[in-house]
Symmetry: C2
């Protein structure tokens, strides 16, 4: 039975005081497709982001980073996010930057704010000019649609090859007040972090000091979006944005060692992890959700290196697709992960709860039937115990099917 | 029209004086399959090898390296190679080492040489015990089959998921004598070098000083087998072995700066490159042969890094399969290759002879029709000109098709 994909119940996505969302259609790739999302943020909102490390970083990412820097310097607020699908505005040179700014200017005029108070995001085909002639005329319609309860619509509007929309909400007690966290994300291919992995937007009504926002967004990304891989390709456009509108009435969190910071981070991380796992479940062509947990390493880097070697291997991923306990491929991936002083004789490999390999070879207790039983599950955990240190790391991925090839061979046609 | 795959004409594979090959069937995976190859080397032959860097290196690789070291120390000759397909004897712990040595002992008894004069090789499924009970009884049949002109049979007998056998010969003038080089190789998946990439055996009748053999095998591997990737997976068993029987009558080459060394290296490299390219052409599910050339880099490492990022990207490879000039995926791969100070505004990307991208975006002269025309070819070159240094590097790969998934999902069943 393949992994279950379900879009969130629209009613489960809770409004965030200070955030309104409007959706419309510019027909960028397909006529009538709702491909423009405008997110309005109330004055006083804090915004921070982490972005792709790809050297061919897309024009909107460059503009986003510039606008965030400028507003931090002048102490101003980001007031709007504008997102289009169907075109990535990446690999578009100077003209791409100009068009990203042009979109921000148009939003700023509508909203009555500075151009630098608007952050642009694009996702879709690379190397094509952004069709601003289609986008600018429909921005008033997006504005007219603004409402606090349009999170689910927005989650649908930012999808590309995603099969289901991705969104989640949580509530937590922070400083004696109930704060709410709601997030949406898109992404199912070209997914591999060197940091954020897709488009992700998580908002909360909690109040938090501006100086803690960047650390918080990084802390949350590291345990969520930075733990997913679908195909090892890092997009030019990946962005993860954290918004805190400060309208929950809690005392502003200004200490990252406080219980309030920890409680807020936990709620944000739960939402972000749910979104990140939803991306792996919805990986292009995925039929299985795979968790790779590497335990007992000397440092985080070596645990991640081994986890990603397994999670990226096309041979391992096709074996999962076939439900074939061809576990040698997992051992091979551990071996070529690049941890050169790794002693393969002292590690253990588990498939689910089944001990598969130890002492450099197949475990004496292992039987093919045990392995096959686990491989037929829709959700599978591979656990590698290195026995050489105190550190653990987890990566989420999916299997590799005919449909991955089909989706990516036919994406533009 | 898909890439053309042709096995070498058996008559084109020239015998090497001092080398005889015998093939037989042990029925390791399938009854009747010719899966055992014995290669006998005359006394006085020099042998050197390069091997997988995978930490889960297979038992035969460990034994191979030990035997080579021991024979170098005691100044003895390697007299036989024994190769089985159908079982990799990898991930098999102490028992695997015992069975690899047991195979060498049996060959040594037959050939009347020391156990350490025999090198074992295995390829096939990982994590299954080597069936020595099937292999040992048929070794006399392999010996009875020994003949100088069995190179083509051997090329067939070492295949696993390969569609065609791989072999090549060259002749060159060295020290006033004609020397002959003949090589065979197998490999079409789990192909990515950290050095040699598969099983490859290249023999020559040239005479060369023992002290130069290791450098020569590395020099040849670096321009051939170390330039291929199919799926980025590095096997546990990869081995490339160079044999020089010394029977051509040339004065022994003892200077790596001599014209004779250069001439021999050139002939060996031609054979090895032909074998390496044959592996990419025959990549699992391949319909296209792709050359990725990165030019004008500061050093070899950054050129290789960018070339491999392109050659390994599942998104790039599925676009080639679809003949879709979705060139943004190539730019994205260049961007995430990890060359962090790369300036994407000063590089050019060519598809065949067509300038595709420059100044950080699509070239003004580029049209989709030009790109599509190149993408429909069976053999395609992607050229990235970095304009920041004097160094070039080339990598060969193939596209990524439904059949890659099919072959690897069904390999064991």
């Amino acid at each position: 039975m393949p992994v279950k994909l379900t879009a969130p119940d629209p009613a489960s996505l809770l409004p965030i005081a200070g955030v309104r969302l409007g959706i419309t259609s510019a027909g960028i790739k397909k006529p009538g497709r709702r491909d423009i999302t405008l997110i309005e943020l109330a004055a006083g909102s804090r915004v921070a982001g982490v972005f792709t490390q790809n050297r061919f970083c897309a024009a909107p990412v460059t503009v986003c980073k510039q606008h965030l820097d400028q507003m931090v310097q002048r102490g101003g607020d980001i007031r709007a996010l504008v997102i289009n699908t169907g075109n990535a505005n990446a690999g578009t040179g100077e003209e791409g930057l100009r068009r990203a700014r042009q979109t921000c200017e148009a939003v700023a005029r509508l909203m009555g704010c500075a151009t630098e108070a608007v952050l642009p995001f694009s996702t879709g085909v690379i190397l094509e000019p952004l069709p601003v002639d289609k986008i600018l005329p429909v921005l008033p319609a997006a504005q007219a649609d603004l409402a606090p309860d349009h999170w689910s619509d927005a989650a649908h509007a930012i999808m590309t090859t995603d099969i289901v929309a991705k969104g989640a909400s949580r509530q937590a007690q922070v400083g004696g007040r109930t704060v709410t966290v709601t997030g949406i994300a898109k992404g199912s291919g070209m997914i591999h972090p060197n940091m954020a992995t897709m488009l992700g937007y998580v908002a909360t009504d909690a109040a938090i000091a501006p100086g803690l926002m960047q650390q918080l967004v990084k802390d949350v990304a590291d345990v969520s979006f930075n733990c997913v891989t679908v195909d090892g390709d890092t997009s030019t456009n990946d962005s993860f944005i954290l918004v805190a509108t400060g309208q929950a009435g809690n005392n502003e969190i200004d200490d990252d060692a406080s219980a309030d910071y920890a409680a807020l981070k936990a709620a944000l991380s739960e939402v972000a992890i749910e979104l990140a796992q939803a991306m792996a479940r919805d990986g292009e062509g995925a039929t299985k959700f795979i968790t790779v947990a590497v335990e007992g390493g000397r440092d985080h880097a070596e645990c991640k290196q081994i986890a990603y070697a397994i999670a990226r291997s096309p041979l391992v991923k096709t074996a999962f697709f076939a439900s074939d306990p061809n576990l040698g491929r997992i051992l091979a991936a551990i071996g070529y992960a690049g941890v050169m002083d790794l002693d393969v004789d002292t590690l253990q490999v588990y498939l689910g709860d089944v001990l598969v390999a130890e002492k450099g070879g197949r475990a004496a207790s292992y039987s093919e039937a045990q392995g096959a039983a686990v491989m037929h599950e829709a959700e599978i955990t591979v656990r590698v115990v290195l026995n050489r240190g105190p550190v653990n790391a987890t990566v989420w991925t999916c299997d590799f099917s005919y449909d991955y090839v089909k989706i990516n061979a036919e994406y533009r046609t």
